[in-house]
């Protein structure tokens, strides 16, 4: 129970939010028509079910959108298929007949006899409310659509009684005799069914039965729910829109079928109309249909037709000298009967109770069907008002029972251009109060005032705002913003006292608030109000503040959010700077020096020949000569070995595919990989030992 209450409450919030701050209800307009085309979109030329097809066609028909030709072929095919089928359910039959009523797939004397007999047995055998509903409604539709039939319920009164037996004392109805749960939605269905029974009855139904039904309706209206803005609705598990629509549909049929008339509280009927208008444009087809169908029932019925007062604009611009326009129409926007509209009161929201305009009748312009107030009195100023309108119906005989609200309260905002004068900014010396530098400002455009102050001085900003009729104007928004280079912002309110709006900033008291941040502050002034047409945001310039050093314990300025764009920019490229190779002399120089180095050797050889050296004492005996040759050959071989090693002719350890030197070359190479160059030689030895042992 509580849960539902909460849901209701939330719906209230939503509804208020949807209607906006103003509780002005506009009748159905073109926006509904364009939305209807989006909501009722057929798939491949037809709708999923006949029920959907009926809802779509009915809504489009009411809104005056002609899409029948596009849809009729495929949909009619379905209708013709369903109607003669004895296997189709009562529900299908009802919706097939409903669609047929709009598209006229079958008509005239071509009565679908199977379906009539099916419906008639349906009525006889029905126990459940829904069965009664489908079969009775079906028969009514057959009677309306096919001229050659004379369907009447012989035992109409018995049927009436058995339906009536499902009603509850509180005006609600049960779906089945076995289920004690009652519902408002079912009550709506029951009224429609009973209206059908009355119209099908060959003779008049007992009057007392109808009378008890009427008391039931009155009781049902006791359970109606109410919102603060004067809208009424019925709520149940089906949702408020469906439930309320069902009740209204039932009431309309019932009022149409019997002659004595239904007496319903007018205020509640207007409230119901306002409820449906306040919903706005529902996005779901079902809700859309229910809204439009219920409003049609309110538009044309035999109990009371509500009239809705609406304003094309609830914002009045005093500079444009627009007249206040008011329209009165029915819920679907059609013309209202002759009536007069009176502006009873215009209450200003600021000063409570006093009314600016009293009892003024609005003029009527027949061409645009609007009522208008040509001119406002001289003391009508900008601001927010609540206008109270009264509608007086002309007594001349109206065919329909029109009803209106006793009083319609409409919030009105009057806007105008506010004059800004005497704007000036000044830096004052604290001690003497003398003016250090004073600048006149034109707030309508950006200026580039440049001021400077220290913490012992004050800043004064003042301006004067007056309304079009010369009163002092207090704007809702009058902010001075100081923005430091580091993006730290401070907002100050400019207060209005007397005629002037003035702001004093005593920097001595503000140093802490300014986080001791010296430097350039940009000054920005914003003046705005809902009634002010020339709201402004003006960059005045900047002030250079010289504040004392920040003490250790003072608060640090808050972190400023980082700019998201700069956060994601690509980083600067980095390329590695390679070590510069050692500077070596040119090859030619080396060769020159090589030549120089070789020169002594050549000189040595030349010197030897000059000295006339010989080797005459080389031993001549074979033995001695052999050993001498071996001795010198040995020296030569050692020297040759050096040369060969140097030119890599022997002892190559460099390539595993080439000559392998002394067994363990591969181990040496492996140590090069595994031993870090930073390890000491002892560590390298340990590594080598490990490798040997693993081999």
């Amino acid at each position: 129970m509580m849960e539902r209450g909460l849901v209701r409450f939330l719906f209230l919030i939503l509804a208020v939010a949807i209607c906006g701050a103003a509780s002005v209800f506009q009748p159905i307009s073109d926006s509904h028509r364009s939305a209807a085309l989006d909501v009722f979109v057929p798939v491949d030329g037809s709708y999923k079910s006949l029920e959907e097809a009926y809802e779509a066609l009915k809504t489009l028909e009411i809104l005056g959108i002609d899409k029948k030709s596009d849809l009729s072929s495929a949909t009619c095919e379905n209708v013709v298929k369903v109607l003669p089928l004895s296997s189709s359910t009562l529900k299908d039959a009802l919706y097939a007949l409903s669609v047929n009523g709009i598209l006229k797939c079958k008509s005239g004397e071509d009565v679908p006899k199977d379906i009539v007999s099916k419906l008639q047995t349906g009525v006889k055998e029905a126990k459940l409310l829904l069965d009664f509903y489908y079969s009775v409604r079906g028969l009514v539709l057959v009677k309306e659509q096919f001229s050659g039939t004379d369907i009447s319920l012989g035992d109409a009164e018995a049927v009436f009684r058995s339906i009536k037996a499902l009603s509850q004392s509180d005006g609600k109805w049960r779906y089945s005799p076995n289920n004690p749960e009652s519902s408002t939605f079912a009550a709506g269905l029951a009224f429609e069914t009973l209206a059908g029974v009355i119209s099908l009855a060959p003779s008049e139904i007992d009057h007392s039965l109808i009378q008890t039904l009427k008391t039931g309706i009155t009781k049902l209206f006791d359970s109606i729910q109410k919102y603060d803005d004067g809208t009424f609705y019925f709520d149940e598990s089906e949702g408020p829109i469906s439930t309320t629509a069902s009740v209204i549909r039932g009431l309309k049929s019932f009022a149409a079928s019997e002659s004595t008339g239904l007496n319903l509280p007018g205020e509640k009927i207007v409230g119901l109309a306002k409820f449906f208008l306040g919903v706005g444009i529902p996005g779901e087809a079902k809700d859309f249909f229910n809204q439009i169908d219920a409003l049609t029932c309110l538009e044309d019925n035999r109990f009371s037709v509500p009239l809705i007062l609406s304003l094309p604009s609830s914002v009045i611009s005093l500079t444009k000298k627009e007249p206040l326009k008011v329209k009165v129409s029915t819920v679907l926007g059609s013309k209202a009967p002759a009536l007069s509209v009176k502006l009873a009161q215009a209450l200003s929201s600021g000063s409570k109770g006093s009314s600016v305009i009293n009892n003024q009748e609005l003029k009527f312009d027949a061409e645009s069907a609007t009522y208008f107030l040509e001119s406002f009195p001289k003391n009508f100023d900008v601001g927010k008002y609540t206008f109270v309108f009264e509608i007086l119906l002309d007594e001349s005989a109206n065919e329909k029972a029109y009803i209106t609200e006793a009083q319609t309260k409409v919030p009105i905002a009057a806007t105008g251009a506010i004059t800004i004068e005497n704007a000036e900014i000044a830096v004052l010396d604290s001690d003497v109060g003398s003016v250090e530098s004073q600048k006149k400002l034109d707030l309508t455009k950006d200026e580039a005032v440049s001021l400077s102050a220290n913490h012992l001085q004050k800043l004064r900003l003042s301006f004067q705002l007056t309304t079009p009729i010369g009163h002092v104007f207090k704007p809702h928004q009058a902010f001075l913003k100081l923005k430091h280079e580091s993006q730290v912002e401070h907002i100050f309110l400019v207060k209005t006292s007397g005629k002037k709006s003035e702001l004093f900033l005593d920097f001595l008291g503000l140093v802490e608030k300014l986080y001791y941040l010296s430097g350039k502050y940009e000054i920005q002034l914003t003046i705005g109000d809902a009634s002010m047409e020339n709201s402004l945001l003006s960059n005045i310039g900047h002030i250079e503040l010289d504040l004392p050093e920040r003490p250790e314990k003072a608060a640090r300025p808050p972190l400023q959010p980082t700019d998201p764009y700069s956060r994601y920019v690509p980083k600067a490229e980095i390329s590695h700077i390679f070590r510069i190779p050692e500077k070596l002399p040119a090859k030619q120089i080396s060769l020159v020096f090589l030549g120089l180095i070789v020169l002594p050797f050549i000189g040595f050889l030349i010197g030897l020949t000059r000295l006339g050296v010989n080797i005459k004492s080389f031993p001549s005996s074979v033995g001695a000569a052999t050993s001498a040759l071996l001795f010198h050959g040995g020296i030569g071989a050692v020297l040759l070995l050096y040369v060969l090693f140097w030119v890599k002719a022997i002892g190559s350890v460099h390539d595993s595919k080439g000559t392998v030197f002394a067994g363990s070359v591969s181990v040496v190479r492996r140590t090069q990989n595994t031993v870090s160059p930073r390890s000491s030689i002892e560590q390298a030895e340990i590594c080598l030992k490990d490798i040997y042992s693993s081999l």
């Binding site: 939330l10 002005v24 949702g239 706005g280 996005g283 928004q477 902010f479 809902a530």
Partner: protein, 437 residues
């Protein structure tokens, strides 16, 4: 007991294919979305938003926020990939759901759309706070803007904001520019400056402020100007995405359909930018756009094709990586000019922007620095609106071997010459000395 376990087994058997349909690496778009409403009539008043989601293949599960059977996970498995909370006034969720469960849901890499409104509950504020978003503490405050409100015949309060300060990111808001201003009526929020994952998508104009429109201001408002964020997004480090809006009406059919004219501007639009804005934003939040996937990092020496186990200093190498973007249906090549690779050891030694072949392959070539050690190829790609990529691959770099240096250094020729001439001299001298007569 027996029966129970059997039915559990049966249920999990049914759930299994359902779970495997969801969120995966290869198909990152969300599928199953839980929609929490504080009133079922929102389903009707916000139906365009929901039906566009449905038409894009989302499986929406509408529940009342107070529903006592609410649960995000069952048997340790999440039942949903995304969550939409349109329940600004809910003080407590039903079932096992609370703000911690929602934080866990986001922490598991799943996505969230949260909408507050005026008089948002503490619960909703708390969830927003977890995501780095601070709603105005004054519960009666709304965003007011006397300079960029939407000109309307019924709104005399200037609380219906026509905002056009949108984030410049194709990933978040799509490639088509949103021409018409976005209508907003709701509560202001600011971003936590220490949280750099959250950013403003729709900001207020400099003249905006957050206050109660029907009462006079006694102290300066907490939030003013462009510091006010109207709609913000957050992409967590695990690429979970969150949209936080200060207005529930922003998503409503009414504002989707309503025309807009910004105060002081001569341009009148038939339709507000809301539908485009919300649709594009929902594509982003449910990973239909801006989701990147990278193949493995490929590198080799110039002229070779195989990846070496080790590089030598001063080797020339080629590096490439394939990056694909999820389009909602398939993986498309990603094209950008700001993907960068780092050759990294403690700090980047080389940082190069990759060039793209427009088919998703990003490549570059560079010389290995003359420093040896264990390096990493690192691709850390962060771009506004895109998921972050963080890839790395380790590779050692060795110095020259002893035999890879020059053998004959010309500069040393004089020394070589000196050695050999001395040797030759010695040899000659030995003959002369011994056998001269």
């Amino acid at each position: 007991m027996m029966n129970l376990s059997r039915s559990v087994a049966l249920i999990s058997l049914f759930l299994l294919p359902l779970l495997s349909l969801s969120f995966s690496v290869d198909n990152p778009t969300d599928r199953r979305v839980l929609v929490l409403l504080d009133d079922l009539s929102l389903k009707s008043s916000h139906s365009i938003f929901f039906s566009t989601l449905k038409s894009r293949g989302f499986d929406l599960d509408f529940k009342l926020a107070e529903d006592s059977k609410l649960a995000l996970q069952r048997y340790g498995q999440y039942l949903y990939d995304g969550l939409i909370i349109f329940a600004p006034s809910t003080e407590r969720f039903g079932g096992s759901l609370d703000s911690k469960a929602i934080a866990d849901f986001v922490d598991s890499g799943r996505d969230l759309i949260l909408s507050a409104d005026t008089s948002a509950s503490d619960l909703i504020r708390g969830i927003a706070l977890e995501c780095g978003v601070d709603f105005d503490e004054d519960s009666s405050a709304m965003v007011i803007d006397h300079s960029s409100f939407s000109v309307s015949d019924v709104d005399g309060d200037h609380t219906l904001i026509a905002a056009d300060d949108l984030v410049k990111s194709h990933a978040i808001l799509g490639k088509t520019k949103i021409e018409a201003p976005v209508l907003f009526r709701g509560v202001a929020h600011s971003l936590n400056p220490t949280n750099n994952l959250v950013l403003k998508v729709l900001s207020a104009s400099p003249s905006a402020y957050s206050a109660n429109p029907s009462s006079k201001l006694s102290s300066p408002p907490q939030l003013t100007g462009s510091a006010i964020s109207l709609v913000s997004v957050m992409q967590a480090r695990n690429n979970a995405r969150v949209v936080i809006s200060g207005s529930l009406q922003l998503f409503s059919d009414k504002l989707f359909r309503s025309g807009v004219q910004k105060a002081g501007s001569p341009n009148k639009y038939e339709k507000s930018g809301n539908e485009q804005f919300v649709t594009e934003l929902s594509k982003w939040v449910f990973h239909e756009r801006g989701h990147l996937k990278a193949g493995s990092l490929v590198h080799h020496r110039v002229g070779e094709t195989d990846e070496p186990a080790i590089y030598r200093i001063k080797d020339d190498l080629e590096f490439s990586v394939e990056i694909l973007e999820w389009s909602g249906k398939s993986w498309e090549p990603y094209v950008a000019d700001d993907v960068q690779v780092q050759f990294y050891m403690m700090s980047p030694y080389v940082l190069k922007t990759l060039s793209t072949d427009k088919k998703g392959l990003f490549h570059t070539s560079f010389k290995v620095p003359d420093v040896y050690g264990v390096f990493q190829f690192k691709v850390e790609y962060e771009k506004l609106g895109y998921t972050t990529l963080s890839l790395s691959k380790q590779i050692p770099v060795r110095p020259y071997r002893h035999n890879e240096y020059e053998r004959f250094i010309p500069t040393a020729y004089p020394y070589y010459g000196a050695c050999f001439t001395t040797m030759a001299g010695f040899f000659v001298f030995s003959f002369v000395y011994l056998y001269h007569k």
